[in-house]
Structures are given as C-alpha cells and as structure tokens.
C-alpha cells in the first residue's frame, strides 16, 4: 500500500515500529489459531449440511434420537479452555512488554494535545510547538503523552503502534520506535464531533541527526520578511491573533494551531487540504469550504486583504 510520493499506507500488516511489530507477531498467532478453529468448525458445518440433508431415500420417520454425551461435551469444553488459556498467556506477555517499558536513557518526550479537530504537538524539552505533524528521530524510542483540550480523541498511526485515547482530565502515555525514516499516516480514531474525519495526523521519522536540525529550525522565531509587512500588520490587527500564535510577534493565541512555521507543514486543517497558496487563500477566506464545521470562523475579509494575509503566512517557513 505504498502511496508513491513518499506517503506510506496505514496497514497494520506493514509495521515499522517496535510496538506495531510486537502486536503483529501476536496477531499472527491469534489469526492462525482462529483460522484453525474456523477450518474445523466450518468444515463440520459443511459436512452436516451435505451429509445429513434430508433425502427422499431416507424414508419416513425420524432418525435415531441422541440426547447428549458427557465425554464428547467435556472434550469440547476442555479443549477451548486450553486454547483460551494459551491465548491469555501470550496476551499477558505482550501487554506487559508494551505497557511497562523500562527506563530508556535519551528518550524523547512529546506531548500531543487533541483539539476539535487538530493535533497540538509540544516538545517540552526542546521548546518547540507545532501542529498535526509529529517529528521524531528514527531508531530511538519516543514517549508520547496524550491529553485532550476538549472531547475524547484517539491517537492512531497503525504502522507505528496501536491506538491510545486522549481523554480530558487524563494524561495517557504510549511509545513508538520507528525502525526506518519515513512518513507515517494516521488519524483520530475516536469519534469527536463534526470533523472527526478530518483530524489527520502524520508522523515524520527523521534519519540520525536530521531531527536535531529540524528542532533547531522550529525553535527559532518566525521569519521576518519586510516585503510582507503590511500583511503581517493586517494579521496582527484582526482576530487571527486571538487564536493563533506566531513566535516572536504579538500573535499569542492558543486556541488554534501555532503558525510560527506554518509553511514547514504539508497540509492545512489537519489534513483537510494540501498546504498550497490557493488552499491557504480559500481557508483564510472561509475554512468551511475546505472543512465544513471547522471551529475557525470565516474572517469576513475582502479578497485583497486575504491575499495580503496569505502572502504573510507564506513567509512563515
């Protein structure tokens, strides 16, 4: 399920991280056991249907009545009990392995906060805040703390790990360890309102060294480009700044995504559209054209004003 342009699919059968790998190993065993049971039981059913269907040659009267058999019934109680016991043991082993990872030196800690309908990504140790794209180093574990700013969400990047919910008032933890650099797709997996479908997420696993360069660039303030000074002034004089933050400027809102390095991101609206100038313009004009129900209101700006703001936004690399 390779999407071609560097995007990789979301199949649980193509794990690329330690937890997803361990889950797939366990699920191979479970699938094999279930397939075995299926073949036996479905086979018996087919045999009954074929062999014991009424035939004209059967003649009148009913077949011999069999009321039960203690031996047989005990057998098909004990055998499933044994299978269940084995499955329980392997389940418990994987549970412990994945839920109680020991202390790992040098582990990156990230906090992901779910919002209707986007992801806030904070790196407390690095002083970086971004949205909808989680950048991590490949080959080393990253611990992800999960919180919610409003309703329940669920963090699911199938190739990296199983899902974990973001629930208001709780701080859940999970971890990933991507085994190769790349872009891994995911999305919110707990229904969270109108635009649950457009709460997409991507995890970018960087090769060694590259993650630090990315973090250094993200940590810096916004680029100042005198050519778009009027766009910036307009941005800072409208309601944009009530919700959005642009580092190093008076824009310090926290309700919407941080825009300091907006242009480093591939999509806008948490995956609702590609991050292109045309889409940005449409979004600033009226987000509901790209994402009906989005929390950001139409800003009621005339076209020239939208153009100036978009020109400013496009400099936020």
């Amino acid at each position: 399920v390779d999407g071609g342009d560097g995007l990789i699919g979301t199949s649980v059968f193509a794990p690329a991280s330690t937890p997803a790998n361990q889950i797939l190993e366990l699920s191979h065993l479970v699938l094999a056991v279930c397939a075995g049971i299926f073949v036996v039981v479905a086979g018996l059913l087919v045999w009954c249907v074929v062999r014991y269907r009424h035939r004209p040659s059967d003649g009148p009267g009913d077949p011999p009545q069999v009321y039960g058999s203690n031996q047989i019934e005990i057998a098909w109680t004990i055998v499933p009990l044994i299978i269940v016991f084995v499955l329980f043991l392997v389940t418990a082993r994987t549970l412990v392995a994945l839920q109680t990872p020991g202390p790992q030196a040098g582990t990156l800690e990230v906090t992901v906060v779910g919002h209707q309908w986007w992801w806030e990504v904070r790196y407390p140790g690095l002083g970086v805040v971004t949205a909808n794209e989680l950048h991590v180093p490949a080959h080393v574990p990253t611990v992800i703390a999960l919180e919610s700013a409003d309703v329940a969400h669920s963090f699911w990047v199938p190739r990296l790990a199983g899902k974990t919910d973001l629930i208001p008032g709780r701080r859940n933890r999970m971890w990933i360890r991507p085994l190769e650099p790349g872009t891994y797709l995911g999305q919110c997996a707990e229904y969270c309102g109108t635009q649950h479908a457009h709460m997409l997420l991507r995890v970018i696993a960087h090769p060694e060294g590259e993650f630090e360069r990315w973090a250094a660039a993200e940590r810096g303030p916004a680029v100042e480009d005198p050519a778009v000074a009027d766009g910036r002034a307009l941005f800072e004089s409208t309601a944009c700044v009530n919700c959005h933050r642009v580092g190093g400027t008076p824009a310090a809102g926290s309700f919407g995504p941080d825009l300091t390095h907006l242009m480093s991101r591939t999509t806008i609206g948490a995956g609702a559209a590609e991050n292109t100038p045309a889409n940005l313009r449409a979004w600033v004009h009226d987000p509901s054209t790209l994402k009906p129900g989005a929390r950001m209101p139409a800003m009621q700006l005339r076209a020239p004003a939208v153009d100036r703001i978009v020109a400013y936004l496009e400099t936020l690399r």
Partner: protein, 557 residues
C-alpha cells in the same frame, strides 16, 4: 397434552369496523397481540434504520464523496446505531419472547398483562420521542436535528459545551422512556417463567428458548438500570449544573464510558441470547433430532449471563487502563468463547446424524451458524488486548458487531419469523420468496460487511464521513456499498412475502413443522386464552411424547 383431544373453536370472523378493531389493539393486554405490535413496530424502525444505513454507505462508496454533509452523516450513524439496538433489537426480542413464552410454558398470559401493555407503549412512545428530534431537536446546526453524538454518546461530547440545543436531550429522554419499558417487560418475563409454568414443567423441562429468555430478562434487569442512571446523571449535567462527566470541574469523562459499557456489553448478550433461543428451537425440529446436550446448553447460557457482567472494559482497552486491568478483561472476554463454543458444537451435534429439511427457517439458522462462527472468531481477536489497540474503533469492529447482530441475530430473527409466523397468523410464509429473501440477504450481507474486516486492518477508523483516495480503502468501500442494494432487495422481498402471505398464504394448520413444543398444540392463531385446558407435560418435548408413545422423551431425560 389434553388440549389436542378437544376441538378448539375457530376464532370468530372479525366483523367489527376499522376504528373498533384499532381500538381493540390499543387497549389490548393480550400477550400475543402485544407481541405482534412489538414485532411490527420493530420492523418499521428496522426499515428506517436500514434507510439511514443506506445513506451512510452511499456517502462512503467513493472517497471524497459529498452525497451528504458531515453533520447529516454523523446524525445518520448515531440514529442508525441507536435505532437498531434500542428500537429494533430489544423490542423485536422482547416482543417475540412476549408472544412465545406463555405459549411455550403452557400459560394463558403473562403474569402482569397490564404492565405488559404499559411496557410496550413506553417503548413505542420512547422511540417516537427520539425520532421527534428530527423535527424538534433544534441543535447545533439550526432547526430540527437528530442526535449526532454516536450511539454510545461518549462524554464530554454530550456536554452542553459541545452538544448545544436539544438533540442529546432527545437521545437521553427517548432511551430513558423506552428503557423503562424494557425493564418492566423483563420483570414480567421473569415472573411469568418463575410462577406460571404448567403442571409438570420443571425448570429442567422448559424449552431452551424459555431458558434463554429467562436469562435474557435477568440480564435486562441488571444491565439497563446503570444506563438509566447514567442518563439521569447526564441530564443533570446538562440542565442542573451537575459535573459528573465534566473533567474541567472535577468530574470524570471516563466514568461515562464505564457506566455505558457496564450496560453496553451485557446488552450485546441481551440481543444475542434470544437468537440462540430461536436457533435452539429451530435446528432440532428441522434436523428431526432432539437438542444435543440440553443440560450443557442451559449451563452455558447461565455462564454467559454471569461472565457478561465482567467483560465491559474490553470496549475500553485503548483508554489507558493499567496492564492488570487490561489482562483481566482480556481473559474474561476470551472465557466467553468457551460457553459460546459449547453452544455451537451442540447445535452441530444436533444436526449430525439428522435428516435436515432446509425450509427457510433452517436456511437462516444454518447461515447464522456460519456467520456467528466468524463473529465469534473476530471476537477472540478483539479480546486480545494488544491486537485490539489496532482493531478497536476501526472498520474491523464494525464488521465484527454486524456479523454478531446481523449475520447472527438478524438471521435468527428471520428464521424465527418464518418459523412462528404460521402460528401467529394461521398462514405459512411463501417458501419460494423465502429462499430469494435468504440468498439475496446472505450475498448482500457478506458483500457489505466481509470487506470491512480488511478496511479496518488497513487503518480505516469508523465514523468518518469521508476518506482520502490515497489510503487503499476505495475498492473495499465500494464493494461494501454495492452490497446494500442486494440487501435492500432481500428486505423488499421479505416485506412483500409478509403482506402477500397474510392475505393469501397457505393455511398452516396447528403444527406445520411437525414440532415438539407446547405452542404447536393449540390453534393457529391461538385463541385469546391460549389453551382451553392447561396442558400437563412429562418431558422437554411434550408433542414428541404424544407422537411417539412407544418411545417418549421422559424415558431418556
């Protein structure tokens, strides 16, 4: 069985006017008429829920489709799920139970006939109240909106901050009212089975369907009140400033999930146990063999009833429970497979060595066995907590519970309708139309829900109104949607079969299937008093004893 020896007077021809007849239905306390009204109302709600599902599948047929808005889509899956569970499944099963239990235990009516009528009307008006939201909901998006919070209505999405207007209140009140109806009917069923069995019918001689309904009703009595309580708490949160589920004010959003699933998981067994009951009556009759291992079947049923209350958090493996809790609920959920497996093996053993007649009820029961086997196996996969972290809330879960509730339960309901329709109306349903109904439904159902196992494993979450074309989900979704018209054709044929057979079906006689339980000893349809003389039984199959005096069952039990 003495009734057979008496001529039962034919039912007087209905000569009354239409208003008088309708009035008769409205004021009736007869368990049979109430049962028929339950089933009829459930079928109407079934058609509505099917329409909602069709809208869902039409929207998802293609990536990026804009057949409906996200708001409409979210209302559709909320109302589809809520309707199917509370207004189709529950009333259908309580209704058929209502109709059959007194007949099967040789009683003249339920223990509390007026309470019985009250329960039905509570259910019906609760359902109408829920559907009134389409006109009066006045929610977030303007006038007239149905609930859009999902059928399990997780907090805090249902709080006033996120669900403005009244749509969530309609969800709370509609289900609260119909829930009280279910509780009264369950109390009635338990009392009836405990106190009104005919002479000779010990617990060990009750038909399996009666056992299943008894355990089912007990589950309703213990499972529904937690939901009712949680809904009252939610109403308090919304209207009286309480903070049970409001995390920002010290409440717990997670608490709702616990309350809901403490109801919600037993609810799954409440829905499927009567289906087991139908299969346990129909499979022996059409295999021409006594049920294999009756005591074990009863024991398995009671075991399922107990375990049902200890597995709720397998719906919550992803909420961040500690490993010990996850392990406990995984183990308990897997344990359910043992009694369920016993049932499947006993049904197979009943068919083994039989002379199986594949009339429509048996066709549906056979497909039930196959599809329920699939559902059970995917259930085991979901019980493996780490695997569930991948599968939970994906289309795999959607596939799993539709294999349980449609492939399992709905197929047994159709089996039951084909089997007992002659008893209730005096006319047989048409076999040829029945086979069309069956085969189209088998094909359509598996076409729609089979591929969803894969869509889920390929990473598609449930409840999304659209998806991108680059995820590899397009083809599978299209196949899923193409199954819908096939299923719709099956249901249309079924509706036509019902209408046609009611008017001009072949006369059924008292015992068209050569069956063995007490309801087949009285006329079709039975008189208001069911039995002229209360029967007396000596075994589990009183009619077998009567038909085989040389080798009666009571010699073997």
């Amino acid at each position: 069985v003495s009734t057979l020896e008496h001529a039962v007077p034919a039912r007087p021809v209905a000569a009354a006017s239409l208003p008088a007849r309708l009035h008769g239905w409205v004021v009736t306390v007869d368990h049979k008429r109430l049962g028929i009204m339950y089933v009829t109302s459930a079928l109407v709600f079934f058609a509505i829920a099917g329409l909602e599902a069709s809208i869902i599948r039409a929207q998802l047929a293609l990536p990026g489709n804009d057949f409906v808005s996200p708001q409409v889509f979210n209302r559709m899956f909320t109302m589809h799920g809520t309707t199917m569970v509370f207004l189709v499944g529950m009333p259908m099963l309580l209704g058929i139970g209502n109709y059959l239990v007194p007949l099967m235990i040789g009683a003249r009516d339920m223990a509390f006939p007026r309470l019985n009528a009250f329960g039905f009307w509570l259910f019906l008006f609760g359902g109408l109240l829920l559907y009134f939201s389409f006109l009066g909901g006045d929610g977030l998006y303007g006038a007239g909106t149905a609930p859009d919070v999902g059928w399990f209505a997780y907090s805090p999405l249902t709080g006033r901050a996120f669900s403005r207007g009244n749509s969530t209140d309609y969800w709370i009140l509609g289900l609260l009212v119909s829930g009280f109806g279910s509780i009264t009917t369950a109390a009635n069923l338990v009392t009836t089975v405990v106190t009104m069995r005919c002479p000779g019918m010990t617990y060990g001689r009750m038909p399996l369907f009666v056992w299943l309904m008894l355990v089912d009703a007990v589950l309703v009595l213990f499972a529904l009140p937690p939901l009712t309580a949680a809904q009252v708490m939610l109403a308090f949160d919304r209207w009286l400033g309480a903070h049970f589920f409001d995390a920002q004010a010290g409440g717990s959003a997670l608490l709702w999930q616990h309350f809901f699933w403490i109801f919600g998981h037993p609810e799954v067994y409440i829905l499927i146990l009567p289906g087991f009951g139908f299969a346990s009556e129909i499979i022996p009759v059409f295999s021409r063999k006594v049920i294999f291992g009756y005591p074990m079947m009863v024991a398995a049923t009671v075991t399922i009833g107990f375990i049902a209350f200890g597995v709720w958090a397998h719906h919550m493996f992803t909420v961040g429970l500690p490993p010990v809790a996850n392990g406990f609920f995984a183990g308990a959920s897997m344990l359910i497979a043992v009694p369920t497996g016993i049932k499947i093996f006993n049904w197979l053993a009943t068919m083994w060595g039989g002379r199986i007649r594949f009339a429509t009820p048996m066709l549906f029961s056979t497909a039930f066995l196959f599809q329920f086997l699939c559902a059970g196996l995917t259930g085991i996969m979901l019980a493996v907590a780490p695997f569930d972290w991948q599968l939970s809330d994906s289309y795999f879960v959607v596939a799993h519970f539709h294999y349980v509730l449609v492939g399992g339960l709905l197929f047994t309901i159709f089996a039951a309708i084909y089997y007992w329709f002659p008893k209730a109306t005096g006319r047989l349903l048409d076999e040829r139309l029945g086979r069309w109904h069956f085969w189209l439904l088998v094909v359509g159902f598996n076409l729609t829900f089979g591929p969803q196992h894969l869509t889920g494993m390929l990473g598609m979450p449930r409840r999304i109104y659209t998806y991108l074309p680059d995820r590899g989900w397009d083809g599978l979704n299209l196949v899923s949607s193409l199954g819908v018209p096939v299923q719709a054709a099956a249901i249309a044929i079924f509706a036509w079969n019902l209408i046609r057979s009611l008017r001009s079906g072949a006369p059924a006689g008292d015992d068209p299937w050569d069956a063995w339980t007490l309801e087949w000893t009285t006329t079709s349809p039975p008189p208001a008093y069911n039995f002229e003389e209360l029967p007396e039984v000596r075994s589990r199959r009183p009619l077998w004893d009567l038909k085989h005096p040389e080798d009666p069952d009571w010699r073997h039990e």
